[in-house]
């Protein structure tokens, strides 16, 4: 029984213990100071910030500005109104014009009885009808002209819904 391993181990260990039994070997990769983990966290945070910036850039580009209805309104009026001169309308002018048109329309509504429109016969007369596509200054336009503009929009356009 003296030769049994469990009996000979203590003596063997005492005589010549293998170096690995001491347990003094450091674990590979393990950083008990936590410095590396903090570094990774920092890199992670930087990546998160960069990714967020990227996402904000992309998402912000996906939201367009559109063309506000006011400008559309003015543009359509321009396209339909009779004018004598070639176009020289800048955006700012269009907006100002549109505001003026709206103001006049509001005035007309608040004034009670509507301003008289041209007779139907005049509207139906092609000679009297404005030539499409010509432009001009909007400053001289009257409330009557604004009214006829609305009519011409309905008459000349191919309305589809």
């Amino acid at each position: 029984m003296e030769n049994r391993p469990d009996q000979r181990v203590p003596a063997l260990l005492e005589a010549a213990p293998p170096p690995r039994l001491g347990g003094d070997e450091a674990l590979v990769f393990v950083d008990h100071s936590g410095r590396r983990a903090r570094g990774v966290h920092l890199i992670g945070a930087v990546v998160v910030v960069l990714c967020t910036l990227w996402l904000v850039g992309v998402v912000s580009g996906m939201v367009g500005s559109g063309f506000p209805g006011a400008r559309l309104h003015a543009l359509q009026l321009h396209a339909a109104l009779p004018h004598l001169h070639p176009p020289r309308v800048e955006t700012r002018e269009l907006l100002a014009e549109n505001a003026a048109i709206r103001e006049r329309e509001a005035d007309l509504v608040s004034a009670g009885p509507r301003a008289p429109c041209p007779p139907a016969s005049a509207r139906a007369n092609p000679a009297a009808a404005p030539r499409r596509g010509s432009y001009g200054s909007s400053a001289r336009r009257s409330a009557r002209a604004a009214c006829s503009t609305k009519l011409s929009l309905h008459r000349e356009g191919t309305r589809l819904t």
Binding site: G23, H32, L55, V58, V63, G66, L160
Partner: protein, 727 residues
């Protein structure tokens, strides 16, 4: 036996661990914060998904192409081609008669190949034109868009990715227009009011469905410009046909539609000078679309505000980033696919040669020196009896001893063994100190020169010991790897592991032997020359994969490590995904540790077989490829969503066929039934993902320096030893 000096190496783990730690919330419930590396990996995956989605949405066409011609009506048949909103969701034209004015328009650009040629012709002839650009193309070729605007050409919006606007939902329609507008804002600092919907032609081809869709866009202030003269040049009908189609029959001009992108446009380039020449001869004047519509240029192409420009620049820049990253990812995926294919071929060839050689080689079966079998065991009460009985029952002509090292078990493992009272079997008890220490104690206690190491849940076949020791007849053999078999194959998880084990042992190990760079002698069944083990200082506890670590150390020490295919041992594989995850995390992390620990062998002379063969191979195929593997899955989904799904499905099928072929050979060489191979394709769906997530997790743990403890999976003792295969 008391061994107070034995212990796990290293210092205790950090005192405070914010993430991964269990805490009690305000409601008194115990919760666990996800470990930081899981958060990082989750975020990275999410970002790749978002990046691919953005790339897919911004470069590929979504929605069906073309318009349903079966239900075609023509409500705008008599209308002019420049349309605005009628204020009621429909479209109306206020376009004045064009007279003898022609607006040349080009769609689908800019294209690096064709747009410059068209621009050169137009600039040479002093002809103006309107370019309806695709936003995604403009982002890819911003210089061309800038050149267009700088040289006085007009810009129109042709959506971002050219979908049929009538076939996509309202939100996507809006997105298509808005993104293109942002791109133009960033590139040239203008917003264009002109929009030409893709697949638009002449007004008589516009359907009610298209009117409803385009009406929404027009309601926002955009002007829809279709065409009077559709040259159909995209169909490449011939230069003559294009010239004829672009030439008005009478005196009324209008809009001519051609294309400078989206395909081969050589006919368009050839036809353009002739069109210009013919129209000039007939007295037509060239104008832009906005001139034809009577819209001032400054209204058609409005300068953007500083904030809109900045936002546009940001958008274009970020899309550039996503394109670059996607391009890099795509290259990685391609490289991975090529590497995987090459590896399959390489492994199969070498394994085949090894099989031929090993079958031809007659090892001296009479070589049977005395052997010490060391069984480190911690809480192995469930399976230790079968293990020890199988070892004690080995058919072996020489004396052998079985030393069970009870590593501080609390389930009575040591008592189970002692109660067996088998001849030649003894138990050594120690305080729980870990497997490496237990193995070293076994090494100290071993009386013989050949030391066989066996896990406590493993069952030997009667002749396994003989086959395992036989290769030591060659004096330069320092270690021998046995053939581990999965003993619990009943469930799908067991079957998958069985397939994996058979393929790993019959392909990879054979290849390693051929290359003389075996990196691992498995803990379940391995044999070592005692001298070789003592040469490397015993088994190290510096890694969680002590078997890989010690095998690499022996390989670096000029010893040969070989594979004994007939030395089979049946082990219990994890039967739950959680157990498998834990086991593989340990293996993967341990392998990483071993690779790092033995990195010096790469440049040290005389250690090349491990350093310059096993290390690079393992780094590439066990670390880097699994790290890139999620990209393959994500790109597969990306391709199905945004590209033609057929090539990716073909690739998938080919990959599975190759895997199947490899498995077929491996099972044949191992004498295993091929019936479980039906579950191989399913392995690609859950198992493969689990395996690469394990590697990602391990890499993150390694990077962060976190202490990973040894998790052992719960044993059930369900190990079935199949009949030895017949070859």
């Amino acid at each position: 036996v008391k061994a107070p000096t034995f212990g796990r190496s290293a210092a205790p783990p950090p005192k405070t661990v914010a993430r991964g730690a269990v805490f009690t919330d305000t409601s008194g419930n115990r919760r666990r914060l996800p470990p930081a590396h899981h958060v990082i990996v989750g975020f990275a995956t999410l970002m790749i998904v978002v990046l691919l989605l953005v790339d897919g949405l911004t470069t590929k066409t979504l929605g069906s192409a073309g318009t349903d011609s079966a239900s075609r009506d023509a409500p705008l048949a008599s209308s002019a081609p420049i349309l605005v909103s009628d204020g009621h969701g429909g479209l109306v034209s206020h376009q004045p008669p064009p007279g003898k004015r022609i607006a040349l328009t080009f769609d689908d650009g800019p294209s690096q190949a064709w747009t410059p040629r068209i621009l050169t012709i137009l600039e040479r002839e002093h002809v103006t034109a309107t370019f309806f650009e695709i936003g995604a193309n403009a982002v890819r070729a911003p210089a061309l868009t800038r050149r267009l605007v700088r040289n006085g050409f007009e810009l129109g919006n042709h959506t971002f990715t050219h979908p049929d606007l009538a076939a996509i939902p309202s939100w996507e329609r809006e997105l298509q227009i808005d993104m293109t507008e942002s791109a133009f804002s960033g590139i040239v600092g203008v917003r264009t009011r002109l929009v030409r919907p893709p697949y638009a032609s002449t007004p008589d081809a516009i359907t009610s469905k298209q009117i409803a869709a385009w009406g929404e866009i027009a309601a926002k202030g955009y002007t829809i410009a279709v065409t009077n003269y559709d040259t159909r040049d995209w169909d490449q009908p011939g230069v003559g046909s294009i010239v004829a189609a672009a030439t008005p029959a009478g005196e009324q001009g209008g809009i001519v539609m051609m294309h400078d992108g989206g395909g081969r446009r050589s006919e368009t380039v050839a036809a353009l000078p002739r069109i210009i020449s013919v129209l000039r001869r007939r007295g037509f004047q060239f104008v832009t679309v906005s001139e034809l519509a009577g819209i001032p240029r400054s209204v058609a192409m409005m300068p953007v505000t500083a904030s809109q420009h900045l936002r546009g620049e940001l958008f274009v820049g970020m899309l550039g980033v996503s394109r670059s990253v996607t391009s890099v990812l795509r290259t990685i995926v391609l490289a991975v696919a090529i590497l995987v294919a090459l590896r399959m071929l390489f492994v199969l060839t070498l394994a085949w040669v090894q099989v031929r050689r090993s079958r031809a080689r007659e090892r001296n079966s009479a070589f049977a020196p005395p052997v010490s079998i060391v069984v480190p065991a911690y809480n192995e009460a469930v399976g230790i009896e079968r293990c020890v009985r199988s070892l004690a029952g080995s058919i072996y002509p020489s004396p052998f001893e079985v030393i069970v090292i009870d590593d501080g078990s609390t389930d009575g493992t040591g008592e189970v063994v002692e109660e067996l009272d088998l001849d030649g079997v003894c138990v050594i008890r120690q305080e729980n100190a870990g497997k490496p220490v237990a193995l070293n104690v076994g090494l100290v206690a071993a009386a013989h020169d050949i030391v066989v190491t066996v896990d406590g849940d493993t069952v030997f076949e009667p002749d396994s010991l003989l086959h395992l020791v036989a290769p030591f007849v060659e004096p330069d053999v320092g270690a021998v790897s046995g053939n581990t078999k999965v003993g619990n194959r009943a469930g799908l998880l067991g079957r998958w592991q069985h397939i994996e084990y058979v393929m790993a042992y019959n392909l990879d190990r054979r290849m390693y032997e051929m290359l003389d760079c075996m990196p691992t002698v498995p803990g379940a069944i391995g044999a070592f020359r005692r001298t070789a083990l003592l040469d490397v200082g015993g088994v190290s506890g510096a890694t969680l994969a002590e078997d890989t670590d010690v095998t690499m150390a022996i390989g670096r020490g000029q010893w040969r490590v070989v594979y004994a295919e007939d030395a089979r041992a049946w082990t219990e594989a994890p039967s739950t995904l959680r157990g498998l995850w834990r086991q593989r995390c340990r293996w993967s992390y341990g392998t990483l540790q071993s690779l790092w620990k033995h990195r010096a062998s790469f440049w040290r002379p005389g250690e090349g077989s491990i350093g310059r063969r096993a290390l690079p191979y393992m780094l590439l195929f066990q670390v880097l490829l699994p790290l890139a593997a999620p990209l393959i899955d994500l790109f597969a989904i990306y391709s199905i969503l945004f590209l033609d799904p057929l090539p990716i499905l073909a690739f998938w099928l080919a990959f599975n066929l190759c895997q199947f072929a490899l498995a077929w050979f491996a099972f044949g060489w191992d004498g295993e039934s091929r019936r479980p191979l039906w579950s191989l394709p399913l392995q690609q769906l859950v198992y493969r993902q689990l395996m690469y997530l394990v590697v990602i997790d391990s890499v993150m743990v390694a990077l962060m320096g976190t202490h990973l403890s040894w998790h052992r999976h719960a044993r059930t003792g369900e190990v079935q030893v199949a009949q030895p295969p017949s070859r």
